[in-house]
């Protein structure tokens, strides 16, 4: 088990592999391109030679004698018939060719220059200095040498070397073969190598031209046997086959004196194969393909990018003790909880160390076997594995449960199944902010999905149209404690982004609290009991007695969820745009939500009170009473909302957008008159009668005026439509309360869709001088440029539909472009910031201890604890002081 590297890395040195070294570390010289013989046995000196390791059970490594799991493979090598360029060093080779003389191969610097640069470079310690710093110095030197047209040593006239990408060098149009390049590089004296930043004791420039190629161990490129019994080789093996084949043909052609042309062709082909062996996405050459047409995944592809070794296997790996499944909503769970399906809970385990204190309990647990249930058939946790002190794992089965329960002793570890109340991490990708991964308490539920409270959709940015999420079981006590203290959902209610709540009621929660509190409606005793049965109430609100019957007011019912001692006053969303008297509230005081000692006295509870981002009640409860109280409020408020809607009912449909005939006619009239006004504007423009706006051309002026005209009619039609759609209309209720959609969306459905745009202007693309062939060339009228006078409900005519789609596509493209770009930006930021930390003095440091900021954010303020980015909420302070005085 403990084979492999067990040494500590002290130092890393980068160097070039010399052909000699390649041969020295090689265990076999591969000479045939074949892999296995007819019996399926590796061919000697072939690409699967047993000297390079074993992947088949039963066979033994010919080099070390190890079996499959013991031998980690050995290199072989191939002798190339002719030298080829290594693509990875193209830039360096070019620099060498440019900066040295064609004839004498000295660096093209005068003796004086050599001495002064040498003096400068001797002050640099190559082993400890930042490679970029060394690079910037050597670049200066080589640039100067490259610029010289005559060699200062032998006086030879220099020809310019041009790199014909990816791997061909030309001198005045004539190709310089890799062989010639190698000869030139070989002649460069060791003393000149410092100027290129090369350490002559470990690297020679000619080693950048390959004469021998290492063949990686078989473990690096294992072949797989398909179900059909057919063998399928790794992409690298395929590529090596190509290289060996061509190298052989090239050797034969060269030796039997084939025409130069054929030799050159084969040489180029060998260069192609070696190049694509290293990097199959080299610019300028087509990628090598598999027979099926799939591009081969060669060395660079294995390392690079999102699916490469680094990002996919080293920075991020697959983990144990995790689960992934579809999510669905469960309003009866607290925001701190997550529902885990039984099936997952049976598989996920928590390690428990046996001590003298818990040994009896654990014994009883093991006795129950791996799938215990209580007397009601309900899930209870069992034990999956027992781990002995020597690390051996024993699987618990029904048969061995009894026996195993007796074996455990203090010092052993058992892996216990998930229990109600366990703390787990829950995550939805993309994990863009810290609220994307929060700690929840487990609730074991039947079914197949993870479930959670709807208020937690916002921080995860989750919906239930098939979204999946991941669950991670914490394995250590420290991690469990940390998760509980800093990662629990209730600790994350306040967003560090804007200093307000990011967890709050959504959609129906807002609709419900709105209907419950707007104009303070009256409910019967039965209705009230129904609603409150969803919440764990301590006592009923004060009733109003009318004609001997008990009634309850909506605001009093809502107050049940509020903590005692809460005083808040703010404007509700419904009346946020109104100045003075709000048309929706009878009493001017009702435009304000007023909460006195935990009693809602005036105002309508809507998005501004309980929604995420704006929710002022959540904000104030969190500030004054802490996260526990805030979480409790959200739990109870969302439950009350569900209880209310289950009593009242709520629906929406196309009939929400019915407006009377005469309203439709009026909208048609105003859109017709707008089109006519636009015609007039165009006429005026054509006869040069319009005045250009300051800083605008006549064309721009015309466009601006037309756009303002179309904007005006859309607003007007919206007004006409909404005049008939009041707060009895479900869609309007949702829009006004902030539950979903805006009034604009409603007027688009009921009234008119309006002008479509691309890049902020009217639609202006398609055919020559017109958007569609249905219009005359040069037509810049309303219809030809994307003015949609129909409503979504009445339906768009084909021309409108097409132009509307053009506008719609812009939005889609925007989103696609934005997400990929912001994703990359986010990645760079995270990589830059990931290991910065804030210390006890709020100083921000990196891992070395270098200071980034003396005080976090330069003010030391945790934005999460700020009042929406401000230090204090003055209005709130004053209100609270006044209340305290009147008391």
């Amino acid at each position: 088990m403990t084979s492999g590297i067990s040494k500590r890395i002290n130092k890393i040195q980068f160097a070039l592999l010399s052909p000699d070294e390649i041969r020295k570390m090689s265990q076999v010289k591969v000479i045939t391109a074949d892999t296995y013989d007819d019996d399926g046995y590796p061919i000697e000196r072939g690409l699967m030679d047993l000297h390079m390791g074993v992947i088949e059970p039963g066979l033994k490594c010919a080099t070390c004698g190890g079996k499959v799991d013991e031998c980690h493979g050995h290199f072989g090598h191939v002798e190339l018939a002719m030298p080829v360029v290594h693509v990875g060093f193209i830039k360096e080779i070019k620099t060498f060719l440019d900066a040295t003389c064609k004839e004498c191969s000295r660096i093209k610097l005068t003796e004086d220059q050599i001495n002064s640069f040498k003096a400068k470079l001797s002050t640099v310690d190559f082993s400890s200095t930042d490679p970029e710093v060394i690079g910037s110095i050597t670049k200066k030197v080589t640039d100067e040498a490259s610029a010289r047209a005559v060699c200062p040593h032998c006086g030879a006239q220099q020809k310019k070397v041009i790199l014909d990408k990816p791997t061909t060098f030309r001198e005045e149009g004539i190709k310089v073969t890799p062989k010639e390049i190698r000869e030139r590089l070989e002649r460069i004296p060791n003393d000149d190598l410092v100027f290129f930043g090369l350490n002559s004791s470990v690297a020679r420039p000619e080693w950048m031209i390959l004469t021998a190629l290492p063949v990686p161990p078989i473990n690096v490129r294992p072949s797989i046997t398909l179900e059909t019994g057919e063998r399928s080789e790794d992409d690298l093996t395929h590529k090596l086959v190509d290289i060996i084949r061509i190298s052989q043909r090239l050797r034969e052609s060269r030796d039997n004196g084939s025409p130069q042309l054929i030799i050159e062709d084969l040489w180029d082909l060998l260069q192609f194969h070696v190049t694509t062996y290293f990097d199959n996405q080299t610019a300028g050459i087509p990628p090598a393909r598999h027979r099926s047409g799939r591009a081969l995944r060669t060395l660079v592809q294995r390392l690079k990018g999102k699916d490469g070794r680094f990002r996919s296997n080293l920075s991020g790996k697959r983990v144990n003790f995790s689960a992934r499944t579809v999510i669905s909503p469960e309003p009866f769970l607290s925001i701190n909880e997550v529902g885990v399906p039984e099936k997952a809970a049976r598989e996920l385990t928590v390690p428990v160390s046996i001590t003298i204190f818990n040994v009896e309990n654990v014994r009883n647990l093991i006795k129950l076997g791996p799938e215990p249930r209580d007397e009601f058939g309900k899930y209870t946790a069992g034990v999956n594995y027992i781990i002995r002190p020597d690390g051996r794992r024993i699987k618990v089965t029904i048969q061995n449960a009894e026996e195993n329960s007796k074996r455990i002793e203090p010092g052993w570890i058992v892996e216990r199944q998930l229990m109600e109340g366990d703390i787990v991490l829950f995550n939805r990708q993309p994990s863009l902010h810290r609220m994307s991964m929060m700690a929840h308490n487990v609730r074991i539920l039947s079914g197949q999905t993870f479930r959670f409270n709807l208020a937690v959709c916002t921080p995860y940015n989750a919906d239930f149209d098939g979204d999946e999420m991941n669950l991670h079981i914490i394995q250590k006590e420290e991690a469990r404690a940390e998760a509980k203290i800093i990662m629990r959902v209730q600790e994350q209610i306040m967003s560090p982004r804007f200093g307000g709540p990011i967890i709050g009621g959504i959609h129906d929660h807002i609709t419900a609290t709105f209907l419950l509190t707007h104009l303070n409606p009256r409910f019967t005793y039965e209705e009230t009991v129904h609603m409150l049965s969803y919440v764990d109430v301590e006592k009923m609100p004060e009733p109003e007695i009318i004609d001997g019957k008990k009634y309850f007011r909506g605001r009093d019912i809502f107050s049940v969820t509020l903590p005692e001692g809460l005083y808040v006053k703010f404007k509700s969303k419904l009346c946020s745009s109104a100045k003075g008297q709000c048309e929706y509230e009878e009493d001017i005081r009702d435009t304000f939500v007023t909460i006195e000692n935990g009693k809602l006295t005036t105002g309508t509870i809507d998005e501004a009170s309980v929604g995420p981002f704006s929710g002022e009640i959540i904000n104030k409860i969190f500030r004054r009473f802490g996260q526990e109280a805030a979480a409790k409020f959200i739990d109870r408020m969302t439950r009350l909302a569900v209880g209310f809607l289950s009593m009242r009912g709520f629906t929406t449909g196309i009939s929400d957008y019915d407006i009377p005939e005469n309203a439709v006619n009026r909208i048609r009239e105003i859109s017709e008159s707008a089109i006519q006004r636009i015609e007039k504007l165009i006429e005026a423009y054509n006869s040069n009668l319009i005045q250009a706006l300051p800083g605008r051309s006549l064309e721009e002026t015309l466009e601006i005026e037309i756009l303002s005209e179309t904007g005006k009619v859309r607003d007007e039609s919206g007004k006409i439509a909404s005049a008939y759609l009041g707060l009895t209309n479900s869609s309007v209720i949702m829009a006004r309360s902030g539950a979903r959609a805006k009034m604009l969306n409603i007027s688009e459905v009921a009234g008119m869709v309006g002008q479509q745009s691309v890049r902020g202007g009217r639609i202006n693309r398609g055919y020559n001088q017109r958007t569609l062939s249905h219009f005359k060339p040069g037509d810049i009228g309303a219809n030809a440029r994307g003015f949609v006078k129909s409503s979504y409900k009445s339906g768009l005519n084909p021309l409108e539909y097409f132009l509307h789609s053009i506008g719609g596509r812009e939005g889609l493209v925007d989103i696609a472009v934005r997400t990929s770009r912001s994703g990359y930006m986010q990645r760079r930021l995270i990589n830059a910031f990931e290991d910065l930390k804030v210390d006890e003095d709020r100083r921000v440091e990196d891992t070395i201890g270098s200071v980034i900021q003396l005080k976090y954010g330069e003010d030391g303020i945790d934005p999460t604890r700020s009042e929406r980015g401000e230090l204090v909420d003055i209005d709130d302070l004053i209100f609270n002081l006044q209340e305290a005085e009147t008391e």
């Binding site: 710093v133 270098s850 200071v851 980034i852 003396l854």
Partner: protein, 87 residues
Amino acid sequence: MARFNVLKHEMVPEHSLVSKKEEETLLRSLEISKELLPRINRNDPAIKALEEISGPIPDGSIIRIVRKSPTAGSSVYYRVLEEGVFK
């Protein structure tokens, strides 16, 4: 043309040189060694402007930067002058 002094611009925070005498007490009060402070490049326009006023500033000098802040009123930051911080 008279050159504009960047330090006079309202968006540029106040830069000043920490005197050699003051340095030691400052570092002690910050409980930090000089190498761990953030650095500033000699080519920074603010340094050029400072040098124009107070003459050449040697490498390793500490520059005090006072920034206005809506939350903290003003915040003080220190950067050490160093050759070739950025390329």
